[in-house]
C-alpha cells in the first residue's frame, strides 16, 4: 500500500553546516515526486533524512516528516526503513546469486525459508514485469550482471520488502538512455503500489514520470507543484534555467 509523505519546516545540518532548511513538500499516495536541482543542492540528503539514514551519519534533523500522518521521529529507524525503500545511484550488489540479492532485505529480517524467498522474488519480478528476463538467472552469480541489470535487481531488492514509499537517488544517472527509459517505464507502472520520491539528474525525466516536481537550490525548495505547472509556468529564474537545460 502506498504511503503519503508530508514534510514541513525540515532543517538538517552536519557539524553546524546547514544542508537543508525550511523544506516543505508533499508526495501524495501513489504519486511520483521528482526532486530537481544542481549537484550538491541537498537532494540526496533530503532522501536520506526521510529514511533516517542521515541521522545515523551524524546529521541533526528538526521539523515534521509524516508518513500517513505518523511522525517518523516517533518510530524506530529500522521500522521506517521497512516501509521506506531506497535505491542508490550506483547499483550495489551483494555477494551471491541474483535470488540472494533480491531477497537480501527479507533475509536481513530473519526470513530464510527457501520457498518463501523464491516466491517473493518471483512476485517482485512479476510486479516489475521483468520475470521473463531473470527467470533462468535467479541462481546466477550477481557479479555477472551488467550495470543496467544490476540496477533493476537493486530496485527489485528494495521492492521485495513491499515498501509504501520508495526513495530513488538518481537511479538512472549512470545508465544509457535506452536502459533509463526501460527503468522509467517500470517505475511508472509501480506507482499504484508505492509512492516515489526521486532525485533526478535531468528535467526531462521529471517531465516524463513525475506528477509533482520540486526545484531545490542550496538546501531549500525554491518551488514545487504539478510537474506541468512547474514546467510551463516556473516562478523562479533558476527553475526556468534548469528546465531549459542551462544548468542540467
Amino acid at each position: 500500500m502506498s504511503i503519503q509523505l508530508v514534510v514541513e519546516d525540515l532543517n538538517a545540518s552536519f557539524d553546524d553546516k546547514v544542508v537543508l532548511h525550511d523544506v516543505a513538500v508533499t508526495a501524495e499516495k501513489g504519486h511520483v515526486l521528482a526532486l530537481m536541482g544542481k549537484t550538491g543542492c541537498g537532494k540526496s540528503t533530503f532522501l536520506r533524512v526521510i529514511n533516517r539514514m542521515a541521522e545515523q551519519r551524524g546529521a541533526v534533523v528538526s521539523g515534521r516528516i509524516m508518513l500517513d500522518n505518523n511522525s517518523i521521529f516517533m518510530q524506530e529507524p529500522n521500522e521506517i526503513r521497512r516501509k521506506v525503500g531506497m535505491v542508490f545511484t550506483e547499483p550495489v550488489l551483494f555477494a551471491g546469486t541474483i535470488l540472494r540479492n533480491i531477497t537480501a532485505g527479507l533475509r536481513l529480517q530473519g526470513i530464510t525459508g527457501k520457498q518463501a524467498l523464491e516466491e517473493r522474488a518471483e512476485e517482485t519480478l512479476r510486479r516489475m514485469e521483468i520475470y521473463g528476463e531473470f527467470r533462468d538467472l535467479l541462481y546466477t552469480d550477481a557479479a555477472l550482471l551488467t550495470r543496467a541489470q544490476a540496477q533493476l535487481i537493486c530496485i527489485a531488492r528494495a521492492l521485495a520488502l513491499r515498501p509504501g514509499l520508495l526513495l530513488l537517488d538518481e537511479p538512472t544517472r549512470l545508465l544509457d538512455a535506452m536502459t533509463s527509459s526501460k527503468i522509467e517505464d517500470i517505475l511508472f507502472n509501480l506507482r499504484e503500489d508505492c509512492t516515489m520520491v526521486m532525485a533526478v539528474h535531468s528535467p526531462q525525466m521529471a517531465g516524463r514520470i513525475a506528477e509533482e516536481t520540486a526545484m531545490m537550490e542550496d538546501g531549500t525548495i525554491l518551488e514545487w507543484g504539478r510537474t506541468s505547472d512547474l514546467f510551463y509556468h516556473p516562478k523562479h529564474r533558476h527553475t526556468e534555467q534548469f528546465i531549459s537545460s542551462k544548468f542540467a
Partner: protein, 264 residues
C-alpha cells in the same frame, strides 16, 4: 550512557572469548581421541608405513590448527569490528601485527618450557597444533580484520537501507562480501602451517615422535643419505606444487607471500 555501552561491549567480548576458549578446551580431548583412533585404525589396516604416516599427520595437524584458529579468529575479528573503536582498536591491531612477527624459535622455546616434564605432551600432535594455533592466531585475526574493513562503506549503507540490524548486516552482507579475502587468508595460513618447521623442532626438542612434512624434510636433509635427499626433494616439490596451486587459484597478481620461509 557511553561508558555503559563501552562496558557492555567489553563484557560481551570477554564472554565470547571465554566461551571460545572453553569450547576449545572441551574439543582438545576429542581431537586426541579422533587422532589416535584414526592412526590406530590405519595401522591395523597396514596402510601407514613410512611417508604415508607423515602425510596423514600433516593433514591432521593442518585440520587441527584450522579448527582451533578459524572460529576464535572470526570471533575476535567480529568483536574488534563491532565493539572496539578509536585508539584501542589501533593498539589492538598493532599488538596483533607485532605478535605475528615474534620469531618461531622463541615461541617454540616457550612451548618447550611449558611442556617440559610431560612425556605425553611431547608425543602429542595436539601440542604441536596448539603451538601453531597460538602462533598463527594473530596473523589470521589481522588478515580477517583487514578483509572485513576493506568492504566498501556502500555495502553497509545498502544493508541499512534494507532495514537490517547491525549484526544481520554483518552476517548477510559484510561477511559474504569479505569471504574471498578470508578464504585467501585461510589458504595462506595452510601454507604457513605446512612451511613451519623451526617452531615444531624447538618445541619437541631432539625427539620428534610425530613427523609432519616440514620436520620430515629437515630430518631427511640432516641424514645426508642419497635416497633421503631424493625423498626430501620430492616432499619439497609437493609443497611447491601446493603453493603454486593456491597461488593461481586464490592469490591476485603481485600479492606478497606471507610464508615465513620462502621456497624460492
Amino acid at each position: 550512557m557511553e561508558r555503559r555501552k563501552a562496558l557492555n561491549s567489553v563484557f560481551i567480548g570477554a564472554v565470547l572469548l571465554l566461551s571460545a576458549l572453553a569450547l576449545l578446551t572441551l574439543l582438545i580431548p576429542l581431537f586426541h581421541l579422533a587422532a589416535d583412533a584414526l592412526t590406530a585404525l590405519l595401522r591395523s589396516w597396514g596402510v601407514l608405513p613410512g611417508i604415508g604416516a607423515v602425510f596423514l599427520k600433516t593433514l591432521q595437524l593442518v585440520l587441527m590448527v584450522l579448527l582451533m584458529v578459524l572460529p576464535v579468529a572470526l570471533l575476535i575479528t567480529l568483536w574488534m569490528f563491532e565493539c572496539v573503536k578509536g585508539a584501542t582498536l589501533v593498539r589492538l591491531q598493532r599488538f596483533m601485527s607485532g605478535f605475528s612477527r615474534i620469531p618461531a624459535v622463541l615461541l617454540g622455546l616457550v612451548g618447550n618450557w611449558l611442556i617440559s616434564g610431560s612425556d605425553s605432551m611431547h608425543e602429542s600432535l595436539v601440542t604441536m597444533a596448539l603451538l601453531l594455533a597460538v602462533m598463527f592466531l594473530p596473523f589470521m585475526v589481522s588478515n580477517m580484520d583487514t578483509a572485513l574493513r576493506a568492504v566498501p562503506e556502500k555495502y553497509l549503507t545498502a544493508g541499512e537501507a534494507l532495514s537490517g540490524q547491525r549484526m544481520a548486516i554483518l552476517r548477510v552482507v559484510l561477511l559474504p562480501q569479505a569471504m574471498p579475502s578470508m578464504a585467501r587468508a585461510t589458504l595462506r595460513l595452510v601454507e604457513r602451517i605446512l612451511c613451519e618447521a623451526t617452531a615444531l623442532l624447538v618445541l619437541m626438542g631432539a625427539v620428534m615422535p610425530n613427523q609432519v612434512l616440514a620436520t620430515e624434510l629437515f630430518r631427511l636433509a640432516w641424514l645426508g643419505r642419497k635416497d633421503a635427499a631424493v625423498l626430501a626433494f620430492a616432499l619439497a616439490a609437493t609443497m611447491i606444487l601446493i603453493r603454486l596451486r593456491t597461488s593461481r587459484r586464490w592469490r591476485s597478481e603481485g600479492e606478497d607471500s606471507n610464508c615465513r620461509y620462502n621456497w624460492w
